[in-house]
């Protein structure tokens, strides 16, 4: 979180309408993404989370409305500008199967920058190290990676050009708890160290409550955006419908424990 800087809007969606057949998924949806935040997007299956993310990325043309990236329509950005502005992690990684992991990360650098080859390689190696992959994994082909490593490699590729906004599509889905935990920590770490704004679509309550600064819940074609604790206490219909059941109770309990620990740690630090 960048409390020191004034909150500026880095991306915003204005009046997005998406219809598939007779089904209206987004109905005049507005969403502002603040620079430096981690914004979660959640909602039931079929509520249009992924479509919203693809709309933000400019991969999907909405029936009405527009997405502004730094005040300009995302569709009007030149390809290279867009590559420098946003990076995307696709749900299944979408790593190029014929290239090694390291080559996957080097590809955008090779195409878009004028760096020397050894500089490209060093930069790619850094991105992979940031994503938590060791040298051995970098020489592998995507098919030889485990699920968690695939996500990390794809994340490193999304980071290749130091984008200002990182769009993540279900980064922890299909991972075991410890791998998912690792990805959660990584998102937080990247956000803090690189200052990258992160938009993450997820079903994972842990990610929503422990990583995100704000969460946007999709309901009835609109979004309800608030901080996780506020949402948990919210009385709004759409939010209550999504955030109910035993899983949410567990997440709530875990969160209260974590906040207690955090305050305890803070007190300890203050005593020193």
């Amino acid at each position: 979180m960048t409390e020191s800087k004034p909150a500026t809007t880095v991306m915003s969606a204005r009046g997005i309408v998406n219809r598939f057949g007779t089904q209206t998924v987004h109905d005049q949806l507005d969403l502002d993404i603040t620079a430096g935040e981690v914004l979660g997007i959640a909602g039931g299956s079929g509520s249009g989370k992924s479509v919203l993310l693809r709309t933000l990325a400019g991969l999907h043309q909405p029936q009405a409305g527009e997405v502004l990236a730094d005040g300009r329509p995302v569709t009007s950005l030149l390809p290279a500008e867009k590559a420098a502005f946003l990076g995307m992690l696709f749900q299944h990684g979408a790593l190029f199967t014929s290239l090694t992991v390291a080559e996957n990360v080097e590809l955008p650098l090779r195409e878009h920058t004028q760096l020397a080859v050894d500089e490209q390689q060093a930069l790619a190696a850094i991105k992979l190290a940031l994503a938590g992959l060791d040298a051995e994994a970098c020489a592998k082909l995507p098919a030889e990676l485990s699920g968690g490593m695939t996500k990390r490699a794809a994340l490193a590729r999304a980071l290749a050009l130091d984008p200002r906004v990182l769009l993540l599509d279900e980064p922890t889905t299909g991972l075991d708890p410890s791998a998912a935990d690792g990805i959660d920590k990584l998102i937080r770490q990247l956000n803090e160290s690189l200052g990258v704004t992160v938009v993450v679509v997820t079903h994972d309550l842990n990610t929503l409550f422990s990583v995100c600064d704000r969460v946007a819940i999709l309901a009835n074609g609109k979004v309800i955006v608030d901080t996780p604790p506020q949402l948990l206490n919210s009385k709004q219909d759409g939010v209550r419908k999504y955030l109910s059941g035993s899983r949410v109770d567990y997440a709530k309990a875990a969160m209260s424990i974590m906040t207690k620990e955090a305050t305890a740690n803070k007190e300890k630090r203050n005593q020193h």
Binding site: L78, P79, A80, E81, A83, A84, T97, T100, A102, L109, R110, E111, H112, T113, Q114, L115, A116, V117, E119, Q121, A122, L123, A124, A125, I126, K127, A129, L130, D134, A135, E136, C138, A139, A143, L159, L161, D162, S193, L194, G195
Partner: protein
Amino acid sequence: MTAIALPLPSSSLTVTVAGDRAVLKGNLDVTTVTEAKHALASVPKQNKINVDLSGLTDLDTAGSLLLCAWQTRGFTLAGLSDDHRRLVDLIASLDQTRPKVAARTHGWREFFIDVGRAGTRMLADTVEFISFCGKAAAAIGKLLLHPGSLRLSAIAHHITETGVKALPIVGLLAVMISIVLAYQGVAQLRAFGAQDLTINLVAISVLRDMAVLITATLVAGRSGAAFAAEIGVMQAGEEVDAIKIMGLDPMQLLVVPRLIALVITLPLLTFFADVMGLAGNAVVSQVLLNISPAQYVQRVRVAVDNSDMFVGLIKAPVFAVFIALVGCMHGLKVTGSAESVGVETTRAVVKSIFLVIVLDALFSIFFEKVGL
């Protein structure tokens, strides 16, 4: 390497070097890092420069990498903001070496290695195909013991797909081939005044060889590929494993119906190609040789023996067995990825066309020896 796509929107950076001091102002990012590097590249090795970075507005990882390099050279980085300092420290703590990929062997050695690999693979493939044929035979044997488990609806479906839907293209190709043969025949035989024998030439070669060869090649490309791709997608999506876990046999369920369907359709398609080829020949005879259809039928009756058609048709079910088995085998060889569906489909088509032509050659020798 220079950028192929549009260059990134560049940001501005000013570098001023004066004696032992360098001042950087503006954005040090991936677009300006080369510029900054060059500006300080001319500094002699022993000089230690004091780099003033208080005017730096933006710093990304590429810029941090350069700052790290300067730091290791002994430059002093002054005036870095806390945020930037943290980033530089983070980058400095990471491993910057690219993993070494094992060097490839080059030149003439590679050629021999490839030949050797191809040889062992061919051997393995042959063994595999023979064992697959064995499994298919066992499945057919089981079916004969329990005829009730014959999946008629699946067979009917595959007959439609591989047979009925292939009729137009098979017919068209048969006509075309007979036209090609007829034109060549007339051109060559006219020199001897024997151009009327073109009818015999075309009729016999269509019935004995061309019809079945063209049909089998087409079916190998069309249905062999379809078998490999259909089963391959099921294999990739773990559907084949689901079949096994339910206690069912993929051979019974997937391979046998396709095999039976193709053994039924390929002879029928060949017969259809025979008819169309002869019809094409009739048209060409009318046009080139002025022989009326009635005369044409008369001549064909004299020229062609029953055995000619039999020789052509008997090959069709044999080809069908090979095409179906090769297609299904490669479909079942697919591993998890979508990429391997493409690889196996290609292999199935190449191998089945190859086998069809080799078998046809063997048949020709065989029929010659037995005098048919």
